[in-house]
Amino acid sequence: MADIITEIGIWIAAFLTIAIVSVVYRDNPIFKFAEHTYVGAAAGYSFAVAIGNIRGYGIDYLYPTLKDPWYILPLIIGVLMYFRYHRTLYWLFRYGIAIVVGTSVTAAFVRSIEADFLTQIRSTISILFTKGDAITILGNVVLVVAFITSLYYFIFTFPSLHAGSLGYIPRIGRWFMMIAFGYSFATTVVTRIDLFVGRLNFLLFEWLKLPT
């Protein structure tokens, strides 16, 4: 019985994979069906997991025995969200949203200064003092030049800094940025191929059961 269910699952997965890939030919109803099925399944699954979390992180602490009364607070904040649908008390939902967004932003922002700014600046400056072989030093010099010229490109306050002989600096920066965008685009293509090879592997060997 388990084998039959597994086999049905493989056939459904194969159909949905082909349906999704069919968009490379052009947009079509089968693709739309698969796309909506994916979104619906993911939403349904997430909903079920969310219900489990409301129990695990809220109700279980309050009922049947009261373990920690503070756990009533997240439940109240959650309920506030639904006041959005109330005609007169809809403003209460803003408090729920404000608490959730405020908590997340605070958690990220406090550490962001250290992680995303200070350490990066320290690292870039320290490159100038790094010892190494000729290739390493050359690489570091290129990095510092790329950093300065790319940053210079975005100084728009003083147009004179982009005029005359100074105009070469942002132009060099633009070249560095183009190389970076090219690298970024190439890695995006690589990722897409990687994802598709995974699905092709599934279609050939798990669905069509070709000998490996």
Partner: protein, 280 residues
Amino acid sequence: MAGKSIIDVLENIPREIIYTIVLIAMAIPLIRPLGLPVPVSEPIRKWYNEIESLPPGSIVLVSHCSLGSYPAFDSMQVATLHHLFSRPVKLVFFSIDATGLAVYDILLSKVDPKAYGKVYGVDYFHIGFIPGGETAMKALAEDFKAAVPSDYKGTPISQIPMAANIRNIHDFTALICFTSAGETSIGWIRQWIVVRPEIKYLCCVLDMMLPTMRPYYEAKQVTVLVGSAPGGEYEFLLGKPGSGIKKADAFTGAQLILLVFIIIGNIAAIAKRMGKGGVR
């Protein structure tokens, strides 16, 4: 075709034809592997060495990927689990995405912990999905047991022997993250590495995220940074051939074909410009 030059034809190859050729270029090496050499790159070697050098008894947090990105991370995750289970370390699995729990089931269907003598709750356990993104990471770092009331099966955390020794971030030696989301890979830096820089952070991201993550690696906030594509290299290094090695040939085939199309497109574009009065 009448009236069209060869350059026009090359510049306007229908995308259906390009995709079909790429599909064939991928399928043939999958069905009949070309046996191309699999050179092991430096990041993969470093990934291997870092896991190999984990002290016995180390506690490692493994944050695995979501279901949508699983095909990309399949080989890297499976190979990493083989390696981790073969080492005398303790594993705490975590899902930052609601769909990630399904990934854990798939992973354990491919890597049997019992084959390595590992016991659930003693050598490894899964804390499930914790909502909140970065706030969940922060909660885990500050007070592990408060953030994790039970494992993913609903067993109270107090009944899991391995969890008795875990209080907060200071009890972890390493963090291994597989993710297709930038806010996750960078979130771990903000909430864990900034707090405790001694933690080894092994980060595997989609290849398209490598340019974004590279500055964090250069700043030594990430111990090892690898893309999801070279899973085959890791399988080769471990001596555990899997889907990654098989995919490597297909991957190379597709990239060669794309390279050919890029060259054709550029030749056609340059030739056309020259015909109009020279290259700009």
